[in-house]
Amino acid sequence: MTGTIPLQYFLIISTLMFFTGIYGFLTRRNLITMLMSIELILNSVNINFVAFNRFLYPDNLHGHFFSLIVIAVAAAEAAVAIAIIINIYRNFRSIDVDKVDEMKF
């Protein structure tokens, strides 16, 4: 499995994912979906780390560890986020992001 797929492909994929995530975050009206887009971004980052590590710097494991940590943090983040979103749902009776603009200007 060594080097059959060149690094560029990974990077392209990850970049695509990154911008897809951002696109989703900016366009999706549903808070949960926005959260998922965030996950996309984070995963693109993970792919980056792993790919870099695997192809460029196989002699250390920083990238792998980093991606592991990111996954863990992402989980925590998601947990808190969902908790708050539930809270939002309690208060606004909806999880449509556009409803959540009580405070402005």
């Binding site: 951002i22 975050f25 900016l26 366009t27 926005m34 992001v97 556009d98 959540v100 603009d101 009580e102 405070m103 402005k104 200007f105």
Partner: protein
């Protein structure tokens, strides 16, 4: 060198009196402060006469001429390493002569006022101001340098302001005092600029240095020229502007008639005898400079003087307020003096005009003060300034009548009264210098005699007016000064001025030039005769005459509308076209701009408030855009 330090007391005594009565005046009985002032002036008079006698006769070493000497001098302020302002006492012929004039008239006026101002509300205040004036005037006379002169110049200005506005609850008096101060102030601006230029060129203020034939001023004849005249000529013209303002020369004379709003003794002292001749004195002071390096400036002096005397004499013929008539006659007589200086040369017999000018200054002080005080006595009796309310007063006021008549004859130049001598010398000098000026002055001599006797007759003769309470002669405090001054008016003509007060300090031979004296006397007599015919009895002639002159008469009656012109310039132009726009500009443009900045900032804060829409995704947009912009700038552009 003989010690004259005591002359320092001459200005200081009135100052002390001023401070004392000014600070403590309201606490004590007004009479007391009046007496204090008078005694002070008495002392001053004694000292002045003493000084004069010593200077002119006892201490004088013959042959060497009269030297200017500094009796006293201290440093007051130093401006630059070369220019320092000193205060001191300078004694030379003209200053000693002026000492006599000022102290005499002032003393007379003090005594006179004791009676005239009796029972006035501001009695003490009046005498306080009088002492202030005396102090300033004496300081001016004794100035050792031109800047000291300027200092006291301003001070006499302000004391005249205070005295004209003495009845400060009368709007007309307030207006008159304001006018007098501002007009003279404007003239003083010229004086200041003149001093600036002169001191810049000569690096000195000191009179003795300035006028010494080897002094720095004399080297300036060929100095840089501007519009054809050398810089020093301009400087001297500017300085003369100051003198013209104080001496009410055309066109800066407009304050003088209004100044008659002040109490009559004030008019006698300030606006007839002393302050108004300060201009003449100033020119006389700098006379060597004028005549040696700036003859053009001297021509200006001569012509301004000549025209003013004619102008004033014409107006004087038409006025009905007796004090205004006297005011215009003062202006006319000062014109004489200016002209005399203007036509004079330097040294020996050429300096005739110089001598004549000072001579006339001296005699004029006597008879004009006498006239004013007489007028005061009349007003005191009749409670009116207008000659149309008078007539046939001679039997009510015998002393006033006689003295007034003497004064009128004197000013008309009837020998052997003093006026004859001084005026004759002037005419001679003018004759030698320029014909047109001589003719003007000749005519003016006639006019003078005419309007003075017009005045005299319509007061003491003419119709018999009915006074609701019979006029009575003034008290002794007022009549005695009249008599003393009358004495002066009669005999001061015999003073040997050509030996005492000359342009170069050396005496010269002066004799009466009959070729000019006789015509001048004749035209004086002619004027008197005409006046007698017209005004001795009430006739219709004056009205006809006036009608005959037509619009010219009305113009003269309205003083050739000079006041209106000034009013137009100040009110319309300065106030409405300069000051008002400036105020508006400041409020709306300059300040408006500052407010505009504030408003722009505030508006812009409302403008961009949409940025904070409260929607998370829009925040995301901005975030990402910001990042991308940074990337574009710093990765792709830089």
């Amino acid at each position: 060198m003989i010690d004259y330090t005591y002359t320092l007391l001459i200005p200081l005594i009135p100052l002390a009196v001023f401070l004392f009565t000014g600070l403590a005046g309201h606490k004590m009985n007004p009479k007391v402060s009046g007496l204090i002032g008078t005694t002070g002036l008495f002392a001053v008079t004694i000292l002045s006469y003493l000084t004069a006698i010593r200077y002119f006769w006892t201490d004088h070493l013959h042959g060497s001429g009269y030297q200017a000497m500094k009796a006293f001098e201290i440093e007051w302020l130093h401006l630059t390493e070369k220019l320092t302002i000193n205060l001191g006492v300078l004694l030379d012929p003209i200053s000693v002569m002026m000492l006599i004039v000022v102290s005499t008239v002032s003393f007379m006026v003090h005594i006179y006022s004791l009676g005239y101002m009796k029972g006035e509300r501001g009695f003490a205040r009046f005498f306080t101001f009088l002492s202030l004036f005396s102090f300033s005037m004496l300081g001016l006379v004794l100035a050792t340098n031109i800047f000291q002169m300027y200092i006291f110049w301003e001070l006499v200005g302000v004391s005249s302001f205070l005295l004209i506005g003495f009845y400060y609850e009368k709007p007309s008096a307030v207006a008159a005092s304001k006018k007098a101060f501002i007009v003279t102030r404007f003239a003083d601006l010229g004086f200041l600029i003149g001093i600036l230029m002169l001191s810049f060129m000569t690096d000195t203020f000191d009179f003795r240095t300035l006028v010494s034939p080897t002094g720095p001023a004399m080297l300036q004849a060929g100095s840089a020229t501007f519009m054809g005249l050398s810089a020093i000529t301009w400087a001297l013209i500017f300085i003369f502007m100051g003198g013209a303002g104080k001496s009410a020369m055309f066109p800066l004379h407009i304050w003088l008639p209004d100044a008659m709003e002040g109490p009559t003794p004030v008019s006698a002292l300030i606006h007839a005898a002393t302050m108004v001749v300060a201009g003449v004195y100033l020119v006389a002071r700098l006379f060597p400079v004028y005549s040696m390096v700036a003859p053009d400036a001297l021509h200006v002096v001569a012509w301004v003087g000549g025209l003013s005397s004619l102008f004033a004499a014409i107006i004087a013929c038409t006025q009905t307020d007796i004090k205004r008539v006297l005011a215009y006659s003062t202006m006319s007589q000062i014109g004489y003096m200016m002209l005399a200086l203007g036509v004079s040369g330097y040294g020996g017999h050429d300096g005739l005009g110089f001598m004549a000018g000072n001579f006339h200054l001296f005699t004029h002080a006597m008879f004009k003060a006498l006239l004013f005080l007489g007028a005061g006595a009349i007003i005191h009796a009749v409670h009116s300034n207008d000659m149309r309310d008078m007539g046939g007063l001679r039997k009510y006021l015998p002393i006033t009548h006689i003295t007034f008549l003497i004064a009128c004859l004197t000013i008309a130049g009837i020998p052997p009264l003093s006026g004859f001598f001084s005026k004759d010398e002037i005419l001679v000098a003018a004759y030698h210098h320029s014909m047109p000026l001589f003719i003007i002055e000749f005519a003016v001599a006639g006019l003078t005699a005419f309007y003075m006797f017009r005045l005299y007759y319509s007061i003491f003769w003419g119709k018999h007016t009915h006074y609701h309470h019979t006029p009575h002669e003034a008290p002794a405090t007022m009549t005695i000064p009249l008599m003393i001054l009358a004495f002066g008016a009669v005999f001061s003509g015999f003073l040997p001025f050509h030996e005492l007060v000359t342009s170069d300090g050396l005496p010269f031979e002066a004799h009466i030039n009959y070729g000019i004296a006789i015509p001048s006397v004749l035209i004086g007599v002619l004027g008197i005769v005409v006046a007698t015919l017209m005004y001795r009895k009430e006739t219709a002639v004056p009205a006809k005459m006036a009608g005959g002159f037509g619009s010219f008469y009305t113009w003269a009656y309205h003083k050739f509308y000079m006041d209106e012109v000034y009013l137009f310039v100040t009110k319309k132009i300065l106030f409405n076209l300069v000051s008002r726009p400036v105020a508006w500009f400041d409020r709306h443009i300059v300040d408006g701009f500052m407010n505009l900045i504030a408003r722009v900032i505030e508006k812009s804060s409302y403008l961009i408030k949409g940025l904070q829409s409260g929607r998370i995704q829009q925040y995301g947009y901005v975030f990402v855009t910001g990042t991308i912009v940074l990337v574009i700038i710093f990765v792709f552009i830089l």
